[in-house]
């Protein structure tokens, strides 16, 4: 069958379920066709085809291409090329609108056509509001790959790919196209994105659109504080004491509850009634006071006739974490008696004290102006914290967690997400809440704190976001290089997947498990995707598509690129001073220096910028 229509590919040979086999026509033997001035490569796995059915058009994705070994010399249909293509039907368009799912099957002999830009425009609804362009289709580079922001945020998403496959560049490009779209003049000025940056890669790449909080801040960054008293009490106690059980645990809880109640009496927080306060209500309380009260009870010795007069020598000081001193107890009927009610939590209390004095935990246990005084009064309340995280003048907030000890990363991510989710959940009927101004939480390196089979606060909170965040305007974007290690519940709740190059079989299996059977063959290309190429599928993309993500400008790329080994090894050796290395290691700060030299810098006029411009 010969056709003059350049979009003609061939005819339907067989139909089984959503899978259609197509006999390719002679006219496309070259593999290229030029339609309306654009070049299309036909028969590319992952490209789209169209099967017109009168008023309807069926759309499908090419999943397999092949040729028969031997052409039937006799009995073969005339004009048969022996080349075939397997199509997976994905949707149909009726009138102007595209829908996923099909209502009828094609017939044998129906003609199959290439999808042109105008067909694709119909699918993606090019001018509809709420679509952002993230790159270009690999099969037709002139066609922008668009995804819908609504589904991307509310149905959650996952970006998965091996190291070096371009994950962080994809994330940066995606966030950039949402916050400052090049085509749309208006953009999304109220976009609200919170990013958990585990390696500190993004602060420079997104500097112009993001506010950065860091545990170890640079001059233009803000210090990250996470008040311990906003964390769920059971997780806090577990972290502080290494775990306490039974009666001893309730001693901690009772004390914290008491302290929170007392703190409310002092500061009288808006909106809450005394009777509604629980041990988990985010109200400031002093950890130092908690420690002192508990340790005092443990150490007390008594004297006197009724054994009820404390034999205190030195009251100690909660402010400096100095324990009180008592006369040592003695055996027999006269000497100072130990407190019979003591709970035996000295070990836990000394761990609590050592956590308090450990500088690494300062951002959590001594959270700047959020640190309450002994009577539970803090200079700043949670509103200023939330205003900084969720209400800054920039659309993106980056929480740079690269200086956080890895042992508490899980707790910390859990705490942050808990604070953010709870506040947006409870403020759902206010204009600051998640419904009026939805939030997208980007979680980098998710396998480090959302591992499968671990019941941590982070996993629990993200599971909660994944399951019900949609209703309250909180969306999750999970980024990981090890999808098989990420909690399955979380990954299975993601509606949109960006699969970059993945070669590990168990990781691929996890991604393939998310697609319907017919389309799985699309993912067979995962190990051979180029860097920066992704297969986007799911809710936000109307059709699964293989696309090349727009590469951001050089200065807007995350700094996770590989070291230039050959170039660096090729340099002449320069003098080295390992005392600086040790200083940084000991201080646990990459920017620590040896000796504190005060250098006054003067402003200079550098003309290099002009030079560089005429060089380019």
């Amino acid at each position: 069958m010969i056709s003059n229509d350049p979009t003609f590919l061939g005819t339907v040979g067989s139909v089984s379920g959503s899978s259609v086999s197509v006999q390719l026509a002679q006219s496309i033997a070259s593999g290229l066709s030029i339609i309306e001035g654009r070049v299309y490569r036909v028969g590319q796995v992952g490209s789209f085809i169209r099967i017109p059915q009168g008023y309807q058009d069926l759309f499908g994705v090419v999943s397999e291409v092949g040729a028969k070994e031997i052409l039937d010399s006799e009995g073969g249909l005339s004009g048969e090329t022996g080349r075939w293509m397997k199509i997976q039907l994905v949707g149909e368009s009726m009138g102007g609108s595209f829908e996923r799912g099909i209502s009828q099957y094609p017939n044998i002999g129906d003609s199959v056509h290439t999808t042109t830009v105008s067909n694709l425009a119909k699918i993606y609804g090019s001018d509809s509001y709420g679509q952002v362009s993230i790159g270009n289709l690999s099969s037709a580079e002139s066609i922008p790959a668009k995804i819908s922001i609504n589904e991307l945020v509310t149905r959650h998403s996952a970006i998965l790919g091996s190291t070096g496959s371009g994950k962080s560049t994809t994330v940066a490009s995606l966030l950039r196209s949402i916050t400052c779209p090049s085509d749309d003049s208006n953009g999304y000025p109220s976009a609200r994105i919170l990013m958990l940056d585990i390696h500190g890669e993004y602060s420079e790449a997104l500097a112009d659109v993001a506010k950065v909080f860091s545990v170890d801040p640079r001059p233009d960054e803000t210090k990250l504080h996470i008040p311990y008293w906003a964390i769920n009490t059971s997780d806090l106690v577990k972290f502080l004491t290494g775990g306490v059980e039974g009666v001893r645990e309730s001693a901690f809880y009772d004390k914290i509850f008491e302290a929170k109640l007392a703190s409310h009496k002092v500061s009288n927080f808006d909106g809450i009634e005394e009777s509604s306060i629980t041990v988990d209500t985010p109200i400031p309380f002093s950890l130092k006071k908690l420690w002192y009260d508990l340790v005092d009870f443990e150490l007390t010795t008594f004297e006197g006739q009724d054994r009820d007069e404390p034999a205190q020598i030195d009251p100690g000081d909660p402010e400096t974490l100095t324990p009180p001193k008592y006369k040592p107890h003695a055996m027999g009927a006269t000497g100072h008696f130990i407190n019979q009610q003591a709970l035996g939590v000295r070990r836990q209390l000394s761990l609590l004290r050592s956590r308090m004095v450990d500088r690494r935990y300062d951002f959590l246990l001594h959270p700047g102006s959020w640190e309450p005084s002994l009577d539970g009064r803090a200079d700043d309340d949670l509103d200023s914290l939330l205003a900084a995280w969720l209400g800054s003048d920039k659309p993106i907030t980056i929480l740079d967690l690269s200086g956080v000890p890895s042992s508490i990363l899980e707790l910390l991510v859990g705490a942050i997400l808990n604070i953010v989710y709870d506040s947006l959940f409870w403020s759902r009927e206010k204009s600051e809440g998640g419904i009026s101004r939805p939030l997208l939480v980007v979680m980098e390196e998710a396998h480090r704190y959302l591992s499968a089979g671990r019941e941590s606060l982070a996993s629990a909170t993200v599971q909660k976001i994944a399951k019900e965040g949609r209703k309250y305007g909180v969306g999750a974007m999970v980024v990981s290089q090890r999808p098989s290690e990420v909690d399955e519940t979380i990954l299975s709740q993601c509606g949109t997947y960006f699969a970059l190059r993945l070669s590990n079989p168990s990781d691929r299996a996890r991604v393939q498990g998310t697609l319907p059977d017919g389309l799985v063959s699309l993912l067979d290309v995962l190990p051979v995707l180029k860097t920066g190429e992704a297969i986007v599928m799911g809710e936000a993309a109307k059709l699964p598509m293989r696309c090349r993500i727009t590469l951001p400008a050089k200065e807007h790329r995350p700094k996770s690129s590989d070291p230039q080994v050959a170039e660096q090894w090729g340099l002449d050796r320069r003098p080295e001073g390992y005392e600086r290395v040790v200083a940084s290691w000991r201080a646990q700060k990459p920017r620590a220096i040896v000796g504190n030299v005060e250098i006054t810098r003067e402003k200079v006029n550098d003309e290099s910028s002009e030079n560089s411009e005429d060089k380019k």
Partner: protein
């Protein structure tokens, strides 16, 4: 042809401590680096150069130990 992308190293301010031979350079993206063992004549040359970014890239960056501060 040797291409130097010096656009990324636009310099905002420069300081020098003669006693410790430490050169401190602040770039326009607000990152600050210290270069060690930099002799005083190198610093003087740098200050006389009109194109400081290029001078730094060519003669200092790959020659002296540095640390971001």
């Amino acid at each position: 042809m040797n291409r130097d992308y010096v656009a990324s190293s636009n310099i905002a301010s420069i300081g020098y401590d003669e006693a410790t031979e430490t050169l401190e350079v602040e770039f326009l993206n607000s990152s600050t680096y210290q270069y060690y063992n930099v002799p005083v004549n190198m610093y003087e040359n740098l200050m006389h150069e009109s194109s400081k970014g290029r001078f730094l890239n060519t003669y200092i960056k790959n020659t002296y130990p540095f640390s971001r501060v």
